[in-house]
Amino acid sequence: MRFWIPAVVAVLIAIGLALSPVNEYFFYAAYIVLTFVVLATAWNILGGYAGYVNFGTAAFFGLGSYTATVLFKWLGAPLALQIAAAALVCGLLGFGVGLLTLRLRGIFFAIATVAVIFIMETLMVNWRYVGGATGLQLLRPEVMAPFESYTRMLFAVMAAMAVGAAALARYVQVSWIGRGLRALRDSEEAAECAGVPTLKLKLFACTLSGALMGAAGAPMPMYLSFIEPASSFNLTWSVNALAAAMIGGTIHWLGPVIGAVILGTLQQVVTVTISSEVNVLVVGVLLVLFVVAAPEGVLGLIRKIMARVR
């Protein structure tokens, strides 16, 4: 209940904002910040809880976008169906990647996930139906009342998705799954010896993480009215998800949310005032700073301050 009441309130506030006469650009920018929240939360399930640093966020995100595109182009599917399909397909990819990378640890796992990104991108580049390297122009359907514009509706949808992702992450964290993942993060061998089903847990984390990332990617083609491989599978998505989680703190589900909001908002402000180039610099610098100086992220800093206050 301590979680659900604020969560529902958050979604209601989001819907209220979407219906209010706030400047359109706010929703355009806020949508991206919310996307980061979902991506960071999803990343943390595997990266933070289980300790498997995943660099392939862009692969799942991009595949989610392309799954939605295919469904839209082929069946004219509504957004809900696109999101569900994207989650399913990317969950499967997550499962597959988990199986393949069973025995890999540390940097090998990370590099293998980067490999998945480029292979996915190459597959899309060679598929003419989705436009190949050229990309596709998409005419999105008329907006659903009561929202004034499609972007506002997407903002509300993404807000709901963010809350949903946080709820799932919280559930994983407090349940026996979370305990198992923490055990395997601390020492995989010891966990196995203690009888923790490490393989099943890893596969579960990979699948759930992948599915959420895919769901986050699904509304992007509608958001931009355009899709092309280079930006869909851009490594920057991976870095942002990872950085947001590490900046916020990887132990608790709230960490990625905080990190994503800080990082995302900062980037959007920079985009409007300076240029979108400097965004990547912001991510890189903040990531290095936190990884070096504050490894437990913002949550860790808050904990230290509270301890000192007491």
């Binding site: 890999l104 540390g106 490999a115 292979i119 190459t122 990872l242 990531l287 290095v288």
Partner: protein
Amino acid sequence: MVFSFDLLLEALMFGVLLGSFYAAVSIGLSVSFGLLDVPHVAHPAVMVLGSYCTYLLAGYGWDPLVAGTVLMAPFFVLGMAIYRFYYETFERRGTEAGVRGLAFFFGVAFIIEVGLILAFGVDQRTVSAPYIGSSLRLGDYRIPHRMIVAFGVALVLTFTLTIYLSKTFTGRAIKAVAQDEAALRLMGANPVRIKQWAFGIATAASALAGAMLIIVGPVEPAIDRLYIGRTFAIVVLAGLGSMTGTLAAGLILGIAESIVLMFFGASWAPAVAFGILLLVLGVRPQGLFGR
């Protein structure tokens, strides 16, 4: 697609040249990651930094190869500094820090990339030299001189490093620290200083690799992303720590890419490196000549 043995032969020749270039580019990583276990995903980014430094010097009239060789000295120092920082911040504090070390290097790679964009813009940069643009005629075949130059440099670099690692005192100490750090400490050598020295060498090799990169073709700041796959594929395929293995793996990758390019189209070529990487990781993670 017109299939002929002529084309196949040309693809093979080009693949050998390309492959040795890839090997030269990866040799720095073979030392830093293969021997020292540093998760150096910023290696291609440092190489691209080397390319841009070469570009700057070439703007003053320097020959790019000369520029690359001269850059090896400052890059050596840079490498030592990076390793020192990495060691103090991460390696010292245990295995948990390994994950953060990886994130650190990714952050560094992006900072370098964006720094280059802010400094130079996203435009492609090239250098000119008498051996760029001309080619060698062997009957019906024409081999670009720039590829031959890259091939030559690659051979020299690999050969030099192999000799250094096996014949000199520091070289063998580097190999030793890779095999058994504790034993080395017991023998009185300081493993941290040796690793620092080795990382410096690896970074110096990256500088020369960067010069070769801009000789072989135009560079732009984001080109490091493409080379993450290629360099790691080669180092993993070679087997960690093997210099001659790196050359062999490079050749394999170069030939594979060249053949795919020729017969399947240019749009599949980028996936070759990553495909090989996944294959090796799945089937034989210790690589061809691994320890």
